[in-house]
């Protein structure tokens, strides 16, 4: 009877097993690092905005506080975006005819908000409340990074669920003292607590742990 396979078939078969196993292993390893990469989470990626707004000029340069424009960050779920009128407090005098500020004037004329491109966007099943975080002593920059140094706004953190949990499991390390808070963000003056302690009445002191599913997924 003729041989069914060439002499090298066994080697090829064994090689095939090794290749298949390492291919699966490689794929798993690749996926592991890929879903943790900044590229996957668009960290450091800027978005095209209707007006080339520069945080570095407005915050570091002029000294406008975060809460001046994002006025509801202390008490509501959304930090809030400034209305065109808020911009025009200054820009009715400064750069008043500039073409790059054209969307501002259109917005006022039509009564339509400016369509900014979101950089920090959580999925709809994650319930995030800015007020709950700010009033518990979480600084803006803990999540958003040094926005005051950014010519163009971009994410510095992944905003993945694991990243949220890193803090929710052990919030104490991420809470700033009230003094530092006030020094860093002149707009946030309602905070009052002794140094290094979570603010009284904040959920950090509540009995129910911050890692409960229903804290964020309602």
């Amino acid at each position: 009877m003729a041989q069914l396979f060439r002499p090298g078939a066994n080697t090829a078969f064994r090689l095939g097993i090794i290749v298949a196993v390492s291919a699966v292993g490689g794929l798993l390893a690749f996926s592991y690092f890929y879903v943790r990469s900044d590229w996957f989470w668009r960290v450091g990626v800027t978005a095209a905005q209707p007006i080339p707004f520069r945080h570095d000029i407005h915050v570091s340069g002029i000294g406008i506080a975060c809460a001046f424009c994002h006025s509801t960050a202390e008490r509501s779920a959304h930090a809030g975006m400034p209305t065109a009128h808020a911009c025009l407090i200054c820009h009715s005098q400064i750069l008043q005819g500039a073409t790059m500020l054209e969307p501002l004037r259109t917005s006022v004329a039509l009564g339509q908000p400016i369509v900014w491109a979101s950089v920090h966007r959580l999925p709809s099943f994650a319930y995030f409340h800015h007020g709950a975080h700010v009033s518990s002593g979480i600084a803006c920059e803990t999540c958003h990074g040094r926005v005051e140094e950014m010519p163009q706004t971009h994410k510095v953190n992944t905003l993945s669920m694991g990243w949220c949990l890193d803090c929710h499991r052990d919030p104490a390390n991420h809470v700033r003292s009230a003094e530092a808070e006030i020094a860093a963000q002149p707009g946030m003056r309602r905070l009052s607590a002794s140094k290094g302690q979570p603010i009284r009445g904040s959920p950090l002191r509540a009995a129910s742990p911050l890692t409960n599913c229903s804290v964020c997924h309602r």
């Binding site: 069914l4 396979f5 592991y32 943790r36 669920m161 694991g162």
Partner: protein, 437 residues
């Protein structure tokens, strides 16, 4: 010179190697392939439209999906457990039924696995059940029956496949040697893993086969109990019972035995395997099924008795299952799983193919009614009267259920066509021993 053992091997081997298989097989395959299409349609409807196409809703969150899952996994457990015991006992019955019993178990696990995955709502995320390092940094809830299902099915699939495949290896080598077309030879050769039939091969093979069989026994019992715990851990009055694992193990084994009896009767009739699956073999399985049905009857009586003693909600729920809106399911199950097998007391029924086929079908259907009675009837009288309503499966649920039966039939038909349904190596082994003594 041909020994009787070689004749027997060539008879069995000639079935998968014959170029023609008759129009009956083709017709059956076409019918089951059509049902597989129905399965694909129902899964497609479920994935694209959502679980709303099913009739499941509070309180019947587990309607057909869990009924059918429990039913299929019971069949798988029953037949694989029985096959493993035969391997370990080196019982003469193993030559007749082990190969196809292991096959039945494997195909039943495949059908069982479909339901837990597609009842998830978002089935494409089923891998979240696996504890892998995800970026959301949360492990699966190990106290949840959903994760137990995942491990039960994966373990079952691996172990059942191994039992079936390890047993097949020497026979695949026989087919390799007897097949005519080169392509067929090569396929069989690849799956025979270079089997040459040396003493060392046989010794290792026996060790591996028996090792897997040993593993099957605790695994089948544990998995079947796990399935029962999925019900017991809830606070539903009729489910929150320690007797449930026993009930599931016993009736699961009964459905497995019934399907083995059914398949044995069909195979010996249609493939003329009377010499290998003898009347004595049918007789033995029939007696076992009869004994098992008595145990099932005993378990049912214990169930009623303990519920009556328990009082309160358990009593109300159980009585409702017995005489309420879904009483038909319960008494249908009793009639088919306890009363119908009593016909097996008669030796002439045990020896007749049609009798075995009817009883096999009846008991399998009866166990299905029993599962439906527990899953649906058990939920009907919950604590909250505002939740007291009825459940009826929708068309897509029926299609999914019938589709898995089609898938099971299709897999079995292909198995019968392309692989030896009787273990040639074990048959030769026993025939040699008989010839020597």
């Amino acid at each position: 010179m041909t020994t009787p053992a070689e004749t027997s091997a060539s008879e069995v081997a000639s079935i998968p190697l014959s170029p023609e298989f008759g129009w009956g097989w083709l017709l059956a395959l076409a019918a089951s392939a059509f049902m597989v299409l129905v399965l694909a349609y129902s899964i497609g409807a479920l994935v694209f439209i959502g679980v709303g196409v099913w009739g499941t809703n509070v309180p019947f969150v587990w309607g057909f999906d869990l009924t059918n899952y429990v039913w299929w996994i019971g069949i798988a457990n029953g037949s694989t457990l029985f096959a493993a015991i035969l391997v370990l006992r080196r019982h003469s019955l193993r030559t007749a039924i082990n190969r196809f019993a292991e096959g039945l178990a494997l195909f039943a696990v495949i059908c069982a696995g479909i339901f837990p995955i597609f009842h998830l709502g978002r089935p494409w995320l089923f891998y979240w059940m696996f504890p892998y390092p995800a970026t959301f940094e949360v492990w699966p809830q190990f106290r949840s029956p959903l994760t137990w299902d995942f491990w039960a099915i994966i373990t079952h699939l691996i172990v059942t496949t191994m039992l079936w495949y390890v047993g097949l290896i020497p026979d695949l080598a026989t087919l390799r040697d007897r097949a005519r077309p080169l392509a067929a030879k090569r396929v069989f050769a690849a799956f025979a893993l270079g089997w040459r039939g040396s003493l060392r091969h046989w010794a290792l093979h026996q060790r591996a086969y028996r090792l897997v069989a040993v593993a099957v026994i605790p695994i089948a019992l544990v998995i079947q109990s796990t399935v029962a715990f999925e019900f017991s851990v809830t606070l539903v009055p009729d489910w929150h019972e320690t007797r449930l694992p026993l009930h599931y193990v016993v009736s699961g084994l009964e459905s497995g035995l019934a399907l083995i009896l059914l398949a044995a009767a069909i195979l010996r009739g249609s493939l003329r395997l009377e010499r290998y699956i003898s009347v004595e073999d049918l007789d033995l399985i029939g007696k076992l099924l009869l004994a098992n049905s008595l145990v099932v009857g005993y378990v049912h009586m214990g169930e009623i008795g303990s519920a009556l003693l328990a009082g309160s909600y358990t009593q109300t729920a159980t009585i409702n299952r017995l005489v309420g809106d879904y009483a038909g399911l319960y008494w249908g199950a009793i009639a088919l799983t306890v009363l119908l097998p009593q016909a097996l007391w008669s030796p002439s029924v045990r020896a007749s193919n049609p009798g075995c086929i009817l009883i096999g079908l009846g008991v399998t259907a009866g166990v299905w009614l029993d599962r439906l009675s527990i899953v649906v009837g058990g939920l009907q009288r919950d604590y909250l009267p505002s939740m007291w309503r009825m459940y009826a499966p929708t068309q897509p649920e029926w299609y999914l259920y019938l589709g898995t039966i089609g898938l099971f039939a299709a897999l079995f038909l292909l198995f019968v066509r392309y692989l030896p349904v009787i273990s040639m190596s074990e048959t030769r082994h026993d025939e040699h021993r008989e010839a020597r003594s």
